[in-house]
Subunit: 457 residues, 2 copies
């Protein structure tokens, strides 16, 4: 995966917004090594079980010229005594370090996060959604009590949900994973689940309550106020460049990307429509003040005066790139003191008096942000279908897609069968699940509440 | 290398300042993969020559349970057809991609940068200065002409120098590397060289004019305006977490770190001196307004009201951490309407009227920033010694250290001999080297100007 400048600028905006939210909730950034000794990874049994099959392994530390002159080869004399794993996630190396940092309750909590690249070897990759290497943040916190750790895990799920809705204009369902979908090493996995326009669900972020599993595996104890030695409680939580995929698939249409203003690298693009150098110069001068006014308001604006491309080409290009607002300006607008303003989300145009343009742009950026969220929410709401029998379950899944709200008997076996037969998995047990007794859509056994199934990326 | 929160906060400030300067000079951020196929690395002969001996090599992509139950082992059936190198630098994978992005002069220049981790296997590591993995930024630009590429390489050297001096308060010498110290694959390496307090030099940043070497190795041609096919011209430039080492070693004293205000995560710390809860509450209320006023001015301030540590302990701690200004406030200050203000750089104290405190802090932060630069500059200036004969060269190197300005005959052989005999290397040929004919300090052969030698990290 290569991330080009425009895509990376979106990722930078995502990073900035999230990083600010992390810091506001008391977290600090740190950096831990890329390479994890194999023995560390092996210490937490279910963790290694979950990641062993997709690890990139460093075995040597030198190359050399082949003796037969055939080129560069691995120098077999430079074999590592212990192989290094390229981190698929950093719980193990971080908890090995936390042992040295935590002695007493006074050292707790540790509320740390890192922005990093990780590698999970994938046989079938899919850009932004499933790539061998991806960029992410991983929070790793240490607490004195179980309650505090659970509160932290829930808080970060809520931070992710707020970010998804307020910045990405992407509605999400907050929930708990079923046991078989839990993070390897977690006691409980909280998640936010989004629905893409093709009816498939996408796990957009997870926050794990890790119990004392890693503290036990790495022998991390602390002296309590009362002087007892106890194992430390842990959480970890992460979102990744997968959010870029989510953003693209939530809002795009047949014309290309549609970006929510809060994450758009360019919020307003101005395209001059002109004949000849002189008109171009005139228009250039005319829009200078407007650009200054917009920038003063913190609105990012680009003036595209390239003479190598026609306005129509530019219009298409910025539609493709999802720029929320486009201003077209030609000599007639100049005469009349107007601007032509086009919205990317609705593809509608309006003519605005120069005196009102800045205020109108501010209004519209907010309106677009809200409209995208509303649109996605209304799509999502109309794609949660309650079903009571398995035939209906399969039919809805096939014909309509989306989330299926159904009773489940709570067993791994049923979950596994449904997955085998339909490819649908339990996306989550919603946090706001209402207690409602019923019978499992598959087994007919008793159930105490509905869960959400869907096909997922 | 683990970077803890306080250290990482300094790195974030370095990143932010540099990233802003890169963007102001027209660069955009991108992201390229961590893993480089071995065959890519091999394409530019001198490049692979330079990096082959320190490459971490990924050979497998899966672990498994050992058949004898002895634990987790590498799955030999999951051997990669072609080994992957963990990037030591990214010229090869980037130029392999640029081939797809560049067809015509219209596609040029490409002015891209990435913030990334890289790995160079080091036998003797030294925290921040020489670690197997480090964090850095690497700029990779592509140009239509040689002149434009050279201008870019020089511009980025100057950006680095400005950053070092304006933010790090670290004076640097701008220069060119001799051929043997050049980057593997470069035609010319520009550098900034700093002097540490122990008299050793430290290469703080490099900017390379790569000629057409990588374009030729990766077959990257473009159609000129005239319709000819020509190879593209390249630069690359980078600074790393090594700058953290430079920062520490430039300003620290026997009491600990001394941070320039522009890079200090905490610029002002306030420590209450009190007896009992009531006094603490009073002081807390009293400083609230001051903190608000400072924050309004963009000054970062921390109020340390921990009741687990005494004021004296806190004073030491913030000295150790290099916080530029410390305010002590006790009941007597409250009565008299004063604050006690202590400077970290000079370890001096003054008592300031509450009404003047904000203005005085603003003044002092500027003064400290300037004082650190002046102090480091005066040390550096007094540690550049002109020598004319080799005995003196050796004596100065041993007794005084620092840079030695000496004539050199321009040959690799002389450079090599001096290095073997004294451990001093040519740090750079200063950009502002004045033409001055003389004789080589080692060989007695003619020389056209002085170069700077030093022992280096």
């Amino acid at each position: 995966m290569v991330i080009k400048p425009y895509g990376f600028a979106i990722w930078e905006k995502i990073q900035h917004a999230l990083d600010t939210m992390f810091k506001e909730t008391g977290h600090e950034n740190v950096y831990f090594p890329l390479f994890i000794p194999k023995s560390y990874l092996s210490k937490e049994a279910s963790h290694v079980e979950g990641f062993a099959k997709e690890c990139a392994v460093v075995t040597h530390y030198r190359l050399k010229n082949a003796e037969d002159g055939s080129g560069i080869v691995v120098d077999e004399t430079a074999k590592l005594e212990e192989e290094l794993i390229v981190r698929p996630t950093s719980e193990t190396i971080i908890w090995d370090t936390y042992r040295k940092w935590i002695q007493s309750y006074r050292d707790l909590p540790l509320l740390y996060n890192q922005w990093a690249n990780v590698v999970r070897w994938e046989m079938r990759t899919r850009l932004f959604l499933r790539t061998a290497e991806f960029l992410w943040q991983e929070g790793h916190t240490a607490h004195a009590t179980k309650e505090e750790a659970i509160t932290e895990a829930e808080k970060m799920m809520n931070v992710y949900a707020t970010f998804a809705e307020d910045f990405m204009a992407m509605p999400v369902i907050r929930g708990l994973k079923s046991e078989s979908e839990r993070f390897a090493g977690a006691e409980e996995t909280y998640c936010i689940e989004a629905l893409m326009q093709d009816g498939k669900a996408l796990q957009a972020g997870t926050s794990h309550f890790l119990g004392q599993n890693f503290a036990k595996a790495f022998d991390v104890k602390f002296a309590t106020k009362e002087g007892n030695q106890e194992y430390v409680w842990a959480t970890s939580w992460g979102v990744s460049t997968r959010l870029m995929g989510a953003l693209i698939m939530t809002h795009s249409d047949d014309h290309g990307l549609v970006l929510p203003p809060k994450l758009a690298p360019i919020q307003v693009v101005i395209v001059p429509i002109y004949k000849g150098e002189e008109q171009l110069a005139q228009l250039g001068e005319h829009v200078e003040g407007l650009m200054k006014d917009l920038r003063k308001k913190g609105i990012s604006v680009k003036y595209d005066n390239r003479d190598t491309h026609k306005p129509g080409f530019k219009f298409n290009e910025y539609e493709l790139k999802g720029v929320p607002l486009r201003i077209g300006i030609g000599p007639r607008d100049l005469e009349q003191g107007t601007y032509e303003l086009a919205r990317r989300d609705t593809l509608t145009k309006e003519s605005i008096d120069a005196g009102r343009i800045v205020a109108r742009i501010e209004e519209l950026l907010e309106e677009i942000q809200q409209n995208l969220l509303d649109r996605a929410l209304s799509y999502r709401e109309s794609h949660i279908t309650e079903v009571t029998d398995y035939q209906e379950f399969k039919k809805v899944l096939e014909v309509k897609g989306g989330f299926i709200s159904a009773h489940w008997d709570g067993t791994k076996e049923t979950e596994e069968r449904i997955k085998e037969e339909t490819k649908a998995t339990i996306r989550c047990i919603p946090i706001d699940q209402k207690k409602e007794s019923g019978v499992c859509v598959y087994s007919g056994k008793p159930s105490s509440g509905r869960v959400l199934f869907a096909k997922a990326y």
